[in-house]
Amino acid sequence: MAPAIELTGITKRFPGVVANDDVNLTVEAGEIHAICGENGAGKSTLMKILYGMQPPDEGTMAVDGQRVRFSSPSDAIEAGVGMVHQHFMLADNLTVLENVILGAEPRNWRGIDFKAARQHLSEVGEAYGLDVDPDDLVESLEVGERQRVEIIKVLYRGARILILDEPTAVLVPQEVEELFRNMRELKASGATILFIDHKLDEVLEIADSITVLRQGRTVATVKPEDVTAGDLAELMVGSELPTPDITDSTVTDAVALDVAELVVHDADERAVVDRVDLRIHKGEIVGIAGVEGNGQSELIDAIIGTQPVASGTISLLGADVTHASVRNRREAGIGYVPQDRHHEGLLLEAPLWENAMLGHQTQAPYAKGAFVDRRGAQGQTEQIRTEFDVRTPNVHVAAHALSGGNQQKLILGREMMAEPSVLIAAHPTRGIDVGAQAAVWDSIRAARAKGLATLLISADLDELIGLSDTIIVMLRGKLVATLDPAAVTPRDLGAYMTGAALEPAGQEVAADG
């Protein structure tokens, strides 16, 4: 039987970088094939080529033994290749059925033929063992269920080869298990799955074959039974994976940030942060665990000052800053690494030295009175560049020219150079490569030793457990559990994050998924 997908000599160049360099990949029909590699290894580019979003510069593709050339995703779907993106593309206010048929509506003389659609959907669901209620509103679904809708959407369009782009990134461990169960059923029903992941234990658990990419090249294709996680990591990065362990405690008695009875409302006057009490001492890292959307962003925004506080107080080093402006808080020593560096962290068109100023533009060495101290700012940026290893030709380059990891190092550098007393770090290593990740951890740890109080929010549970002195679980706006990172596993954390470990019915929820 011909392989489901065969890529030969795929090369894709972008200005200044070769994203894919002579990539060869063979995916057998009916297998689950994982693509591993650190950020920037070329995984996403390869998937985009496979799904017809970008044409390769060189090389050939074959699906089921037929040579193909995709010029758009619809060509790919035509050939039976479907993709589930990392970020869901669903309309919240439509039902599951409506979402599934969107853009591929069966028609009758009156318009959309919902009866036929429903029929087809239930056939697909049965054939692949995927269970969804077609009449549920998408906004009422959990993340894992939404993902299932995305998968069904692709299957509904006739795809037999599924590409899943980091499907586990948004899921808690229990949901991951459910996804894996679904993937096995899909496989049993004859589908072929190609998925991207960089969590090695997951890859080893689910995949039949693993292809590792490094710097745009295929390094090796291995069977999971022949390798350990350590072997895979070595293939991915060429050396041992760093871990974010902290050594001995540096926690002091002095409270740096004190949040008391904090309530933050959303636009509908609902409490998205609900009576939160939080204390961070000098030299302490407090990690907040929680599924995204449980009030973490609003908590951060309230502490930074970009979101108004409904009630409660926030004190910084004993001074009440509940109603202080963002600028006053930053001048008083709050550093901020935002969760989305492009959205909140950088001026992409501005040179690096102006980016280094941002958030500190009122203080030396960036300012002299009412004027910008250009020389001081550029000198400071040079220093950030060397100390934080920001790879750039010079400090006059626009921020968009840097890779994600270097942008993140610049942001961390500018915050650390200002020697804050409290650092709010939201997903500080999201979407950056392993090398930059280790650098970020190192500098947070070094600052902790010097007495920095850090509020860490992360979706990477290993990062949370490895860095934090205390882990607090946030669920539906409340802080529901305080855990000792030394005594907790990612699995336990996941149970707390979904609420399964908190309620008597939790056992059942976890078992059912």
Binding site: F14, P15, G16, V17, G40, Q215, V237, G238, S239, P242, I304, T306, S325, V326, R327, R329, R330, E331, Y336, P338, H343, E344, G345, L346, L347, L348, E349, A350, E354, M357, L358, G359, H360, Q361, T362, A367, A370, F371, V372, R374, D389, R391, T392, P393, V397, A398, H400, A401, L402, S403, N406, D433, V434, G435, A436, A438, A439, D442
Partner: protein, 382 residues
């Protein structure tokens, strides 16, 4: 370094040069189609522009266009589209004219009063749009367009009658003579003819180079220093580039919106000064359209103080050339408007193309720098 500087200058010039070249080519086609000789028309335009008196005209046209361009640019720098320069300058000029005509002060004070009234009225009127935006979320494009109508067809039309000199319509009934109380000599800025004549010959045909040109240049320098050298300017540009990052960086978004609109309006208030100082009063047929022209000028100049100057100079040259084309009969004067339009459209396209090219080059450079250091990755930081 020298090479990269050369490349930067070339890239900066590429877009406007391309745009103008394209506009000339297109206009030539239009001229040829309409039966005129493009070459004759261009020769007429340039011959005319080489005369000192024409240059004075260009300078007089440049002055308000440049101030108007800067006024629009202050807003554009933080993505605020102040379309209201038109209404702001007409209202401001009327108030300044009324104030200037009502008092008799020593020269410097009198001129200062007129300028301050103009800036204050422009700032206040523009500030209305800013306040509406931050308190009620009204888009400034819509509010400034509406405020233009209120100012021009409403306030100005009414007040110019109220404040009419001599308390009634002229005996002749025409509009030409009507207007506010004439400003005494002490309130009018002296012209620059004496200064220019030091370097050239005597200026004939009664042409006078407006003294407000000096103010225009000061506005340009002030704009450059404010935007590129001060903390406020950094906050302004940061808000324009990424309002969310600016806010997280401590820039108060609402205050910035109001301040930018107020500053933009203050500059707008000065747009009508050169004409006012020349005519000595505000009359119902006071020059219109300078506010809208300024938007085009700043678009061409990419909000850059020198770029706006080049744009204003080019548009002033074209405006003044319209007259000679009509007189010499080598082409219709409307060709000038066509050219201005084509230049603008071409400039917008050309800037985008050049910008993409520049971004690609920068990414390439940064990637190259990355590769010159040992391979991206692990060893370095572990």
């Amino acid at each position: 370094m020298a090479k990269s500087l050369g490349r930067r200058v070339m890239l900066a010039l590429a877009a406007p040069v391309l745009a103008v070249a394209f506009a000339v080519a297109m206009s030539s086609i239009v001229l040829a189609l309409s039966g005129s000789s493009p070459i004759t028309a261009y020769i007429d335009m340039f011959d005319h522009a080489r005369k000192l008196e024409t240059m004075i005209d260009i300078g007089n046209r440049f002055t308000p266009l440049y101030i108007s361009g800067v006024a629009a640019a202050i807003g554009f720098r933080m993505n605020l589209f102040n379309i209201g320069v038109e209404g702001q300058y007409l209202l401001a000029t009327l108030f300044a004219a009324a104030a200037g005509g009502a008092v008799n002060l020593p020269p410097v004070l009198h001129i200062g009063l007129i300028l301050i009234v103009a800036m204050t009225v422009g700032a206040a009127y523009s500030g209305v749009a800013g306040v509406l935006k931050v308190t009620r979320g009204v888009n400034e494009v819509i509010s400034t367009i509406m405020l233009n109508v209120i100012a021009i067809s409403g306030l100005v039309a009414w007040l110019v009658r109220e404040w009419q000199a001599g308390g009634g319509v002229n005996a002749s009934g025409g509009n030409a003579g009507v207007g506010t109380e004439p400003i005494p000599e002490s309130g009018l800025m002296p012209n620059l003819n004496g200064f220019v004549e030091i370097f050239t010959r005597e200026i004939k045909q009664g042409k006078k180079l407006t003294g407000v040109l000096v103010i225009a240049l000061l506005v340009g320098i002030g704009y450059h220093v404010l935007v590129n050298r001060t903390r406020f300017g950094f906050d302004l540009r940061a808000s324009g580039m990424n309002p969310f990052a600016a806010q997280a960086g401590g820039v108060p978004p609402k205050r910035m919106v109001v301040t930018a609109m107020v500053l933009s309006g203050a500059a707008a208030g000065l747009v009508g000064m050169s004409t006012l100082m020349d005519q000595g009063r505000y009359s119902p047929n006071f020059v219109r359209g300078l506010g809208f022209a300024g938007i085009g000028v700043t678009l061409l100049g990419r909000n850059h103080p020198v770029g706006i100057a080049i744009g204003a100079l080019l548009f002033a040259f074209l405006d003044v050339s319209a007259g000679i084309l009509q007189i010499s009969g080598s082409a219709s004067r409307e060709i000038v408007v066509i050219m201005q339009g084509i230049i603008l459209i071409a400039a917008v396209v050309a800037y985008e193309v050049v910008n993409r090219f520049r971004q690609r080059e920068e990414a390439k450079d940064a990637a190259a720098a990355l590769q010159s250091v040992p391979p991206a990755g692990i060893e370095v930081s572990a």
